[in-house]
């Protein structure tokens, strides 16, 4: 899980072109939107594309998205759960 969290942080910084932010400065459970990294609705679209492209995971609906993209930790948990589901199938 920790490895996935670090990987996600790097991907988020790269994909969203976050300036002067390092993976270490992003807290695992800090909110990505609003007070945290201050991401916005366009960033959500970028993160949806990231999950789909890199991990082959589709987010179902806006409600699920709110939970998934709350923090880096919640994204990592969602990816892990989805990957386990896929393996079981």
């Amino acid at each position: 899980m920790n490895q996935l969290i670090t990987e996600l942080k790097k991907e988020i910084i790269y994909q969203l072109n976050l300036q002067d932010i390092t993976p270490e400065s992003i807290k695992d459970d800090a909110p990505l939107f609003g007070e945290g990294l201050g991401l916005d609705s366009i960033d959500v679209l970028e993160l949806i594309v990231l999950l789909q492209k890199k991990y082959g995971i589709k987010v179902n609906g806006a409600e699920e998205g709110k939970t998934v993209f709350f923090s880096v930790k919640s994204m990592a948990e969602y990816i892990t759960a989805k990957q386990q589901q896929q393996q079981q199938q």
Binding site: Q19, D20, I42, L45, E46, Q52, K53
Partner: protein, 353 residues
């Protein structure tokens, strides 16, 4: 078209020359003799919010800082319209978007590059930066892209539907487009401007922003007194005749013009159209600028920046001089065309005159 009250109250440009800090006016110029010329970009962190600007391409950043400075110069007035002219728009983002489209087989595309690639991005981003809820739009009319924007802005001021309009120009160069343009031999001919050997012109880029207002201020840089666009010359007419009647409408004659600024671009098939104009204005100081600023669909916008600055400072830039008649610049005639089409005439005058 004779114009009653159009003043340039704010002006800024990010170009291949040091225009943003205005040191170009003091004789500081950059040698443009390399592959293609890239804009001299300021330190954006001083001007733009890093959170907001992280998505912006170079062209958007150049345009935003130019607009910001132009608005500040005009005492921060809120423009009632934001109009941008661009020939090719945001090429960097367009290329990013199209490359992703091919690589991902038309699926899972990143939204940012698409949003930023649209031609109205610049006007829209300027509006968002200054919280402007008035109209913002874009003209992409080849060599008339900036000229159309300026014409629209002037008409808005003249019919009194607006008091302040922000008119912008923006175009950028990216390696792939540079190589296409070079193959087309469109702008990178590197032939010599008549009368001055060793003035090659290559492809340039940059952003220019101008706040035009119907209100005259102590700080107004210049006044636009007359303006005319001609896609082609009417049959049986000559460029000399067109210019004379344009000046007559403003109650001026050829000899009243102190300085002319020509859009010669080093391409012999283009520059031959300037010869009769040079012969017409024998008593005027003659200037060129594209050997320093490069050529693009909106390169002529830098002529407006330069003219307004020359009128304001009363200083002629030595590196732009084709022939100097030592006249104080009160009335300037700006002429641009491309291979006998897209003729634009502008008469800029001292605000005191």
């Amino acid at each position: 078209m004779l114009i009653r009250n159009v003043y340039i109250n704010g002006l800024s440009a990010v170009s291949v020359q040091p225009t943003f800090d205005e040191s170009f006016l003091d004789g500081n110029s950059k040698d443009p003799s390399f592959v293609y010329i890239k804009g001299l970009e300021p330190d954006y962190k001083q001007y733009l919010n890093p959170t907001a600007s992280r998505r912006f391409s170079r062209l958007i950043k150049m345009s935003l800082v130019a607009a910001q400075k132009s608005i500040a110069m005009a005492d921060g007035v809120m423009p009632e319209a934001i109009i941008t002219g661009t020939g090719l728009g945001c090429l960097e983002d367009t290329e990013k978007f199209l490359t992703a489209l091919i690589e991902s087989n038309e699926s899972m595309l990143s939204p940012t590059a698409f949003i930023q690639s649209t031609h109205n991005t610049i006007s829209g981003q300027i509006a968002m930066m200054i919280n402007c809820y008035n109209s913002n739009y874009t003209y992409s009319n080849r060599y008339f892209s900036f000229e159309s924007s300026l014409l629209d802005g002037i008409l808005m001021l003249e019919d009194r539907s607006c008091k302040h309009v922000l008119v912008n120009a923006a175009d950028e160069v990216i390696p792939s487009v540079h190589s296409i343009l070079k193959r087309m031999q469109l702008w990178d001919r590197r032939e010599c401007i008549q009368q001055q050997a060793s003035m090659p012109v290559t492809i340039g880029e940059g952003a220019m922003s101008m706040m035009i207002s119907s209100e005259k201020k102590d700080t107004s840089l210049a006044q636009i007194k007359a303006y005319k666009l001609l896609y082609t010359l009417p049959a049986e007419s000559s460029i000399e005749g067109q210019i004379k009647s344009f000046l007559e409408e403003a109650a001026l004659s050829v000899s009243d013009i102190d300085v002319i600024l020509l859009g010669m671009n080093g391409d012999a098939s283009n520059d031959c159209y300037y010869t009769p104009v040079q012969s017409l204005f024998t008593e005027s100081t003659q200037l060129v600028y594209k050997h320093l600023f490069g050529e693009s669909f909106t390169a002529s916008s830098f002529a407006y920046w330069l003219s307004a600055q020359i009128i304001r400072t009363k200083k002629i830039i030595p590196s732009c001089v084709l022939s100097d008649k030592n006249r104080t610049p009160k009335h300037m005639f700006v002429y641009n065309q491309f291979r006998g089409k897209y003729h634009s005439f502008c008469l800029l005058s001292d605000v005191e005159v």
